[in-house]
């Protein structure tokens, strides 16, 4: 049991994809203009990561080493395209707010990273847990970053007003604010991890 718990926990804190591994920065910086957008992007990525991890660990012994990268990319791209079609069909508002970042999940390094480093070497259940843990870690990080940017930029959190928007710092909604907020959050998370 301890082993399974460790796999799950590993992706959330010790090797959190955003704050520790610094993977998938493009989507992280691009979609976190609000906590809600960050959460949705996190969930979308987590779903694809979960599916691709499970499938890749299922087919790992059938894929020769030399063609493993193209095979993994095909699997990941298929899941992303299916997700994109589903979002287009049933969640059009999500499609409007995330736009190009849903198809860009294909090139998110977290997915290929977990496929290569974990799913291609471990069993199906372990890979499922690893995908779940990393997905949760990514989602939490995006909610945190999106929340900080939303509060500082617009005075709201998940759309609920905390202080009037006129006092917000527009900078944090724009791209430079994403870098600034991310930098400080990484510093804080590192400090907490070292003291714990």
């Amino acid at each position: 049991m301890k082993k399974y718990y460790d796999i799950l926990y590993n992706g959330i804190i010790p090797s959190n994809p955003v704050f520790v591994l610094l993977l998938g920065m493009c989507a992280t910086l691009g979609t976190t203009s609000s906590a809600h957008n960050g959460m949705m992007m996190g969930i979308a990525t987590a779903v694809v990561l979960l599916c691709s991890n499970v499938v890749i660990s299922m087919v790992k012994s059938l894929v020769p080493d030399k063609v493993r990268i193209p095979a993994f990319i095909v699997i990941i791209a298929s899941f992303v395209t299916m997700l994109q079609l589903a979002v287009n069909a049933w969640l059009p508002s999500l499609n409007a707010s995330l736009g190009i970042f849903i198809p860009l999940i294909v090139v998110n390094c977290i997915l290929l990273g977990r496929a290569e480093a974990f799913a291609s070497k471990n069993g199906i259940f372990e890979s499922f847990l690893d995908g779940l843990g990393t997905g949760i870690g990514f989602t939490l990080a995006l909610i945190l970053l999106g929340g900080v940017r939303e509060i500082l930029g617009t005075g709201k959190i998940f759309g609920a007003e905390i202080f009037p928007e006129d006092y917000g710092m527009l900078l944090f909604v724009l791209a430079p604010g994403a870098f600034i907020a991310l930098g400080y959050l990484i510093a804080i998370v590192n400090k907490i991890r070292k003291t714990c």
Partner: protein, 200 residues
């Protein structure tokens, strides 16, 4: 299970079957989602037309009429109230925004007065150009375009010579593109009126 060796036939079979399965899955997903996606797009358009156009009892999408202004296609969805032209919703496009296309559904009353508008698509700077959906209906100053007629009011930003609409602060390019769409949509509506008058 032992891993397959990287021989040429193994690689071809393995990668080939993965792509075939993936392709089949995608085809299936596409056929499942095709109808809902088309319905969504249509529902969005219908909602936008109903919101901006005056009351109508015809089917504006059936009576639509297209024209090209400055290389962009404008679609007029006329609103008829008991066979009398009550105005129209015009889907207008501008390529002159700060980032990419701006698509606006503009609603006109019979005399060309702007009734309402909806920004259907834009990729302007968040917090600046993206304000256009709310800014041009704000009654403060000379921001609002609603209730104004492009025939009588100059639909240019007040920074430009003769302009009578206040552009968005720090987003003049977006404002210009928005007003350009409104002007051209009005133009398209006028053209449509003329073709209808010629028919009668």
């Amino acid at each position: 299970m032992k891993k397959l060796a990287s021989t040429l036939p193994n690689m071809i079979i393995s990668l080939g079957s993965i792509t075939v399965i993936a392709g089949a899955l995608l085809g299936w997903m596409y056929s499942v989602t095709k109808e809902p996606i088309a319905l969504q797009a249509q529902a969005q358009q219908q909602a936008a037309i109903a919101e901006v156009a005056p009351e109508f009892n015809n089917n504006p999408e059936e009576d639509k009429w297209e024209t090209t202004i400055d290389g962009n296609t404008f679609v007029v969805y006329p609103a008829y109230d008991n066979d009398k032209l009550a105005g129209a919703a015009v889907k207008g496009v501008s390529m002159n925004g700060f980032a990419g296309e701006i698509v606006v559904m503009c609603g006109f009353e019979a005399d060309g007065t702007v009734k309402d508008y909806r920004v259907l698509q834009q990729a302007e700077t968040p917090g600046l150009g993206t304000k256009m959906e709310l800014w041009f209906r704000d009654p403060a100053g000379a921001r609002s375009v609603i209730g104004k007629n492009p025939d009588k009011t100059s639909f240019y930003v007040s920074k430009d010579a003769g302009g009578e609409i206040d552009g968005i602060t720090a987003a003049t390019i977006s404002s210009r593109a928005f007003l350009e769409t409104m002007r051209n949509a009005f133009e398209a509506y006028r053209e449509y009126e003329k073709t209808q008058a010629a028919k009668k």
